[in-house]
């Protein structure tokens, strides 16, 4: 645990030094500029649009971070051979893999937390500006705490994607890893179609194959509750709990596989 913690902290430190957090500035500017422009445009519904925009931006920024840092975590160390001296220290390779993962998740969590604060600040400002005229027409209050549910689900998605990126980067090149990880993200959102393949195709084996893929590939669509939350529709706690359980188990499987591959790997 000590080793994992130290490796994780080092990942966080490096990404902060690498100016990864600059994206937060971009996020804040985007959100503020958008809210200013939209307030000129739409009839009292700008708050809904800001909510959508903020959540979408968090997810997109997080996705790019997860993929591009995630694939670099291991492959960069191998490519630059910094791993040689690291692995000669009294650590296990599995601890290296898990430490790297925890470090990136930590970085993402801090990032998302800061974005959430900025998000609520903009929403609060919008509510203050709007005065009492529009508010009765809103589906939900501006600084709706339920939005945190969507943020939490975004975090879960990013954690899964990070694990996918790490998995690929233990055995393939950075470019290929990036492509595959984005592919998994997209598939993860279309997954539900695979389950209903029999509606399109008549072949039994193909349907079974599609069904198997549905269960094996990461299923991210159910983790996307942005629309529900923005429209103040109910999102039961049990549903969120199931999503969390799914994500954690899936991540555990990916990390186990990553550790195994990494453990047996030669560093030429």
């Amino acid at each position: 645990m000590r080793v994992i913690r130290h490796i994780a902290v080092n990942v966080f430190k490096e990404s902060v030094r690498d100016k990864v957090l600059y994206n937060l500035v971009l996020f804040a500017i985007l959100l503020m500029a958008a809210s200013y422009l939209l307030s000129q445009l739409t009839a009292g519904q700008d708050i809904k649009i800001i909510k959508d925009l903020g959540l979408a931006a968090m997810q997109l920024f997080g996705l790019f971070m997860a993929v591009f840092i995630g694939i670099g975590l291991v492959s960069k160390e191998v490519e630059r051979r910094s791993i040689y001296s690291l692995l000669s220290k009294p650590i296990r390779r599995q601890e290296f893999v898990i430490g790297k993962y925890v470090g990136l998740v930590l970085t993402l969590a801090v990032n998302l937390a800061i974005m959430t604060v900025a998000y609520y600040a903009v929403l609060g400002y919008m509510a203050w500006m709007a005065g009492s005229w529009f508010k009765p027409g809103w589906e939900a209050p501006a600084m709706d705490p339920a939005l945190l549910k969507a943020v939490a689900m975004i975090m879960l998605q990013l954690m899964v994607i990070t694990a996918v990126a790490l998995f690929f980067s233990t055995f393939s090149s950075p470019m290929l890893s990036a492509g595959l990880t984005f592919g998994f993200y997209i598939v993860g959102h279309f997954n539900a179609d695979l389950k209903h393949f029999e509606a399109i195709i008549d072949s039994r084996p193909v349907v079974y194959l599609a069904r198997a893929l549905y269960y094996l590939l990461p299923n991210l669509a159910p983790l996307d509750v942005k629309a529900q939350v923005v429209h103040a529709l109910p999102v039961p706690a049990a549903y969120l709990l199931l999503n969390t359980a799914y994500a954690f188990v899936y991540i555990a499987a990916l990390l186990t596989a990553s550790s195994f591959i990494f453990l047996r790997r030669d560093f030429k």
């Binding site: 000590r2 080793v3 130290h6 490796i7 080092n10 430190k13 490096e14 030094r17 690498d18 630059r80 051979r81 910094s82 791993i83 040689y84 001296s85 690291l86 692995l87 000669s88 220290k89 009294p90 650590i91 296990r92 047996r264 030669d266 560093f267 030429k268």
Partner: protein
């Protein structure tokens, strides 16, 4: 208990993408290094030195054979606590300072915060990194990185240190510093296993050497014991040597090179020894400048060895 022991250690790398065939990088290496020894691992580039070191660090897994450090199989975390390793042309994290890097590694070894600070500061002094220690490593020169690499290798007061080409990339002053560092490690009782392609490094430091070419061990033992490096003759340098006496004794010399006016470098065969000739020359008015035994150079030896290898 031996510090390092390998038994028939071999490593194949697959070559070619479509139908990979094994390429043997290391062939049945059997080696024993006693504790407290300073052991030179010599060979030209591509001989398999780095592969051997990576096998000992378990960065590679052997195709066959066994390797043990301090009586335990390599890769054992307990063993890793007692050793240090300097990779060839080391590279670390761009965005950490030298101090932070060493502190990070020290934390992985398991030292507490106060102990870390003390060790890191002392180590950086020892390898000669001054105020640069607060600089991010991406601003470091190759020589400076080499020093950081050595510092991290001896961070945990190791019992065995593995150094892969510790002198490469260093200027003459740096080479001398590393040499002194290795000597001080030896004095502390630390086993040093280092690779090099420069014989002079080994001659100055090592109690024993092993010579590797094309993945095979071709000689090992004390430098003076290795047949290839035994005295082959003598080099005699004399001044004030007259032309007549040079002519008179020419048959007793293998080769004559004029260095300056009436000053010559004379190569003499091993037998019958330089004594008689030296006495005669001095008797005829020459002055002795120096007398040295000559050995075959490592380079000559490699060229000769590679020439003997059957083509692959």
């Amino acid at each position: 208990m031996l510090a390092i022991q390998t038994t028939d250690l071999s490593k194949d790398f697959p070559v070619g993408f479509w139908r990979p065939r094994p390429y043997r990088a290391l062939d049945k290496l059997t080696l024993e290094v006693e504790q407290g020894e300073t052991f030179g691992f010599l060979g030209p580039n591509g001989a398999g030195k780095t592969t051997t070191l990576k096998l000992l660090m378990q960065l590679l897994y052997p195709t066959s054979g066994r390797a043990e450090i301090l009586g335990r199989p390599v890769g054992d975390v307990g063993v890793k606590r007692r050793i240090g390793y300097l990779p060839e042309s080391p590279y670390f994290y761009d965005y950490l300072t030298a101090e932070e890097l060493l502190s990070y590694f020290a934390s992985l070894v398991g030292y507490g915060a106060a102990e870390r600070r003390r060790r890191v500061s002392a180590l950086l002094d020892e390898v000669g990194i001054g105020s640069e220690r607060r600089l991010q490593l991406r601003k470091f020169s190759k020589g400076m990185l080499q020093r950081v690499g050595i510092a991290q290798a001896i961070l945990n007061d190791p019992e065995v240190v593995f150094l892969d080409e510790p002198m490469s990339g260093l200027d003459p002053l740096g080479r001398r510093e590393v040499r002194n560092l290795i000597l001080s490690l030896r004095d502390r009782g630390c086993t040093v296993f280092f690779s090099s392609h420069v014989l002079a490094d080994a001659e100055a430091l090592c109690s024993r050497v092993a010579i590797l070419a094309s993945g095979r061990l071709i000689a090992s033992g004390k430098i003076t014991d290795i047949h290839a490096f035994q005295v082959r003759g003598w080099e005699l340098i004399v001044a004030h040597l007259s032309g007549e006496s040079l002519e008179r004794h020419r048959a007793r010399m293998r080769k004559v090179t004029a260095i300056a006016d009436r000053q010559y470098a004379l190569e003499l065969p091993l037998e019958p020894g330089p004594d008689g000739l030296l006495r005669d020359l001095i008797g005829e008015g020459a002055h002795l400048v120096s007398l040295n035994p000559t050995r075959e150079s490592l380079e000559d030896f490699f060229i000769q060895q590679v020439g003997q290898q059957e083509p692959r």
